[in-house]
């Protein structure tokens, strides 16, 4: 006992600092403990599959390491460029449309709707499409566009606007338009919600000062509100671009990638390579390429975002 007592260091002037460190150490350990389940889950469902994908992308079916051969095969397949063209075309339709429509709705509600109850109702209505499973959206869309029994053709013919069936899913340009409208319906509310939230952060006094100076709706938007919305546009563009690269469910249900390969977007193409051709190496190489592309895009967007500015 005396020996133990002798080993206890004598009190010094640094005691409060050490106590603080111990406390911080305990807090850090607690923080890590709390984070552990989440990190473990991410490790199991993200890290392990990613490591497997990287391993598959550089190996043959029998496990032999073959370098970048799968990447070479993936990049030399002409069907990849058909899929990239289709994906690019799809993105060119949906991204500008969703952003413009979402912005228009956000501005409209921000400037014209004052009653909190109505605003809350619009908020709930905007959230609804976001929480509907994409598969259900695809099935409903098929009932709208399908040949023979599609609701849209029925309504158009009943109103006398058309006299014969329009092949929404059979004509290449219409098929792409049809699958794009489904995306626009489901994701324009997301843009609306983000931009509407951004508009709430615009200082009222700036707007009122501009209005006193005779600012119109347009100049008010261009010279004041747009500055507050700009980072949000980049954020939306990033999320929606990443989503476009993952679009699968409703396109698969509506057209299956057809007619021909017109609507075979990148995700459908990768599905085809993995689950129809069972070419795991090439599919893994494609998956890694897409992941790297999205990561680069993410890095560029986060650099452009003025989030850390003082």
């Amino acid at each position: 006992m005396s020996r133990l007592v002798a080993e206890i260091p004598a009190p010094t002037g640094t005691e409060p600092v050490r106590a603080g460190r111990r406390r911080r150490g305990r807090q850090e350990r607690l923080a890590y403990m709390i984070l552990l389940p989440a990190l473990g889950t991410v490790f199991v469902i993200v890290t392990i599959p990613f490591v497997i994908a990287v391993f598959q992308s550089i190996s043959s079916d029998d496990g032999t390491l073959i370098g970048l051969s799968n990447y070479g095969r993936a990049l030399s397949n002409p069907l990849l460029y058909e899929a990239l063209r289709a994906t690019g075309f799809y993105a060119l339709i949906v991204l500008p449309t969703e952003i413009l429509l979402g912005l228009a709705f956000a501005l409209l509600v921000h400037r014209t709707v004052r009653r909190p109850g109505l605003r809350a109702t619009l908020y709930v209505l905007a959230v609804l499409p976001l929480v509907v499973p994409p598969v259900a959206v695809g099935v409903v869309a098929r009932l709208i566009y399908a040949p023979g029994y599609g609701v849209l053709n029925y309504l158009l013919q009943s109103a006398g606007i058309t006299h014969s069936e329009i092949q929404w899913l059979g004509v290449p340009i219409l098929a792409m338009g049809s699958v794009a409208t489904v995306d626009i319906w489901q994701w324009t509310p997301f843009v609306y919600l983000v931009l509407f939230a951004g508009l709430q952060t615009v200082p009222r006094e700036s707007v009122e000062a501009a209005q006193v100076d005779g600012a119109t709706w347009w100049t008010q938007f261009i010279y004041i509100e747009l500055h507050y919305l700009w980072p949000l546009f980049l954020l939306i563009l990033f999320f929606r671009t990443a989503d476009v690269l993952r679009v699968f469910d409703h396109v698969f249900i509506l057209t299956g990638g057809g007619p021909g390969t017109t609507t075979q977007l990148l995700s459908l193409y990768m599905y085809r390579i993995e689950f129809k051709f069972f070419d795991a190496g090439q599919a893994a190489a494609l998956a890694v390429l897409v992941l790297v592309s999205i990561s680069i895009l993410y890095a560029l967007v986060t650099r452009a975002l003025p989030l850390e500015r003082a």
Binding site: G63, L79, A146, P147, G148, Q167, P172, G260, T262, F275
Partner: protein, 440 residues
């Protein structure tokens, strides 16, 4: 460091994940009784969701009452079932004691060595009341036709027994004309009966599997093919292009709008509501829609015949049998085999038919007392007798069908000419087969 194969790597990862994810179940199971290894209390069947497994679900209750064994039917949509089975077999999983398999999947599963042989392991022998082709389609390597290079010289075994005796046939409105004998008759009838809101022919033209299934009997009957006996691609030969031109140009003139998006249910619906004259048909569509009085306006007005003759002088139907097999990973192989034997018994198959099942026993197909309730039985028996074609027995079939079915869809949509579509498909398929070490 010892190098491991990819399969081994995936297997170890899957086993580790399975061990973690099943830990709660294992802990929960502690203290509860377990079944004996000889007679399990439950067998699990992986099945395709739809008219193919509906009768199976209806008869498994009888099996439980007779044996005490619960049959759990786990259903998946068509594509997902295949993917699920492939990934389960890759990990040698024991989740399923039995699996339903579409017959073109047999090459993939046979090549993978994923199934337990029914003949050598469980004593299955051929029954003369069941068509030979039914046993042949469940045998691997295939008893006739080209054999994949990796499978040549291997001993043949029976790995699957048909429980849904699907053969693709032809249907037409018998209240309007006699049976077409040839595809020329089909075309002239299509032209004759085509009218506003009444289509002379229905094309099942949706991309990949649907249009592939719809067009292959025509391709074969015209003397075309996907491969010859040496795995050389034949899709860009004059006979194949002629067949595709016939379907996508000549018959298309009288087909329903949106043929490129029409699947089996859409086709049957058009027949059932009296808006179509003729088409190819699978037995399941007949019982479920065309002859179902609750949804059909044409019950009794439609006749079913084997596929008409083409320019080759033959009419070749297509096998679409659904088989039951026992995965290698199953720990209840013997009990699973008993269930298959039970399903094949004549009395049980009659009960299966009474519940909407499609039989394979000739004695049942030719039983006149069942003909009125099942107007397609005679045509199905004739189709079995004529020995229908099966889809090429290659483990690359899914890839081949995807290339062919995508190009066919483009041709049906008018997006590509028949010749360009077949040249594109042929090119893709040659690349696929070459990569898989087939002669091309």
């Amino acid at each position: 460091m010892q190098r491991i194969t990819r399969r081994e790597f995936v297997k170890r990862t899957a086993v580790t994940s399975a061990a973690f994810t099943s830990l709660p179940a294992i802990l929960a199971a502690c203290g509860t009784s377990t079944g004996t290894s000889n007679k399990p209390s439950k067998l699990v069947i992986a099945a395709v969701k739809g008219n193919e497994d509906a009768p199976l679900k209806k008869v498994v209750g009888k099996y439980k009452s007779e044996t005490g064994i619960t049959m759990e039917v786990v259903e998946f949509p068509y594509d997902q079932l295949f993917e699920k089975l492939v990934t389960t077999f890759q990990a040698n999983g024991s989740s399923y004691d039995l699996c339903m398999m579409d017959d073109p999947w047999m090459p993939k599963f046979g090549t993978m060595g994923a199934l337990q042989p029914l003949d050598s392991n469980f004593g299955f022998t051929r029954d003369s009341d069941i068509p030979t082709v039914v046993y042949d389609v469940g045998t691997w390597p295939p008893p006739h036709g080209p054999v994949p290079p990796t499978e040549q010289g291997k001993t043949q075994h029976l790995y699957g027994i048909t429980i849904v005796g699907n053969v693709e046939m032809f249907m037409y409105r018998k209240d309007k004309s006699d049976a077409p004998k040839s595809w020329d008759d089909v075309l002239s009838n299509a032209a004759k009966y085509n009218a506003a809101n009444f289509y002379g022919y229905v094309i099942r033209g949706k991309a990949t599997n649907p249009v592939s299934s719809d067009s292959l009997p025509i391709l074969w009957s015209f003397g075309g093919n996907i491969f010859d006996d040496n795995w050389k691609v034949q899709l860009d030969t004059p006979a194949s292009i002629d067949a595709v031109t016939f379907l996508t140009r000549s018959l298309k003139k009288y087909a329903e709008p949106g043929a490129e998006n029409t699947d089996a249910a859409d086709r049957s619906r058009l027949m059932a509501i009296g808006q179509a004259y003729q088409s190819t048909v699978w037995p399941g569509e007949i019982t479920d829609i065309v002859e179902d009085p609750s949804v059909s306006q044409v019950k009794g007005k439609v006749a079913y015949i084997p596929i008409p003759q083409g320019k080759s002088g033959k009419g070749l139907g297509m096998m679409g049998n659904w088989l039951l097999g026992i995965p290698k990973g199953s720990k209840n192989g013997s009990a699973a085999a008993d269930f298959i034997k039970w399903m094949l018994k004549t009395d049980n198959m009659r009960n299966y038919v009474a519940n909407g099942g499609i039989p394979i026993r000739k004695s049942i197909l030719n039983d006149s007392s069942l003909a009125s309730a099942n107007p397609y039985f005679q045509a199905l028996a004739q189709s079995f007798d004529a020995v229908p074609n099966w889809r090429p027995r290659t483990d690359q079939w899914n890839a081949v069908e995807t290339s062919y079915g995508t190009a066919m869809n483009a041709a049906v949509a008018g997006q590509m000419s028949p010749q360009a579509a077949m040249q594109k498909a042929a090119g893709e398929i040659r690349t696929t087969m070459k990569a898989a070490n087939y002669p091309s």
